[in-house]
Symmetry: C2
Subunit: 187 residues, 2 copies
């Protein structure tokens, strides 16, 4: 991938999270990235296409990092579930953290026919599915139910952490996840 294209993606990811997607114009993006609109439209067919690529990249980076960490640091399936929020906290509190794109995108694009909305809700579904598979492997009865509960807490905590860094939301989310997982394991 061209270095300029990569730079545009990084800058757009940042601006979308800090100023909102709809409120960030392409002029602002190219100015911050130190390039011009002609170059942006060479690598991306439209602003919507740029948004979609930003979402794709963010989601892939997070998912592959997370499953990598869980696979190499936890062996038993129930350990993976227990350590899930430990690693999520590590990700969210890292200086490189730029927010979870799909959470904000689904709020800014509520129209179900929008491609952005469709991708972001698909990513949310995929993440829930991943948690559910961890729960299944740990022999939890209602795996989908626990996955939904954990994803509610996760999305809420990420949003809170984004709005106010160091809000403590992640700490209490971690505690809540422990309680819910324990309760699901003993039932």
């Amino acid at each position: 991938m061209s270095s300029l294209k990569s730079k545009i993606l990084v800058v757009a990811t940042d601006l979308f999270q800090t100023r909102g997607i709809n409120s960030t114009g392409v002029d602002t993006i190219v100015a911050v990235a130190g390039t011009t609109k002609m170059t942006l439209y060479k690598y991306f067919t439209s602003k919507e296409n740029l948004i979609l690529e930003v979402l794709e990249k963010g989601h892939q980076d997070f998912q592959s990092w997370l499953s990598e960490q869980l696979n190499s640091n936890a062996k038993k399936p129930s350990d993976k579930l227990q350590k899930l929020f430990e690693f999520i906290e590590e990700w969210v509190t890292s200086p490189n953290f730029r927010g979870m794109g799909f959470i904000k995108a689904s709020a800014e694009f509520p129209n179900e026919e929008s491609a952005v909305h469709q991708l972001s809700s698909e990513q949310s579904r995929q993440f829930r599915q991943y948690i559910s598979s961890l729960a299944s492997e740990a022999n939890i009865q209602d795996a989908d139910g626990l996955a939904l509960q954990l994803s509610l807490i996760f999305e809420g905590a990420v949003q809170a952490e984004q709005m106010k860094r160091g809000s403590g939301a992640m700490k209490y989310a971690k505690k809540a996840s422990k309680i819910l997982i324990d309760s699901a394991l003993t039932n």
Copy 2:
């Protein structure tokens, strides 16, 4: 309050939730409300002012309904806490439900200097504070912690329920809240 002003508020509340705030122009609002821009700008000094009044009204309606229900249907403080999500579910699944304004508004207005952002995060704080006071009365040690956990679940479930009606999010949110409250009561 003038009937036209009230009509504009209702229509704007609806459109903001279904299409997004920034994506909804005042022209659309007045067309759906069956009036004109001149009338809208008579009752509201600006679009931002309209957004703020929509948020105020939505929050007041919810908070007064909720505390009314809790005060008349639960006597012991711990009962109020236990029944909190029962009533929230009733509110969210009612046909009149138009979403919780402050959840979406904080996502669409991430700039901390924005008056809309400030109001919506203040409302979020107030709601959390209300839950915390219920927890305190029920003699829960870390009342603020539990309030944060419950509000994370609440905001996540409302957002999920908005995105997909009948998603079952509310049902599992209710279960999660029971588990977390029980855990907090016995510690």
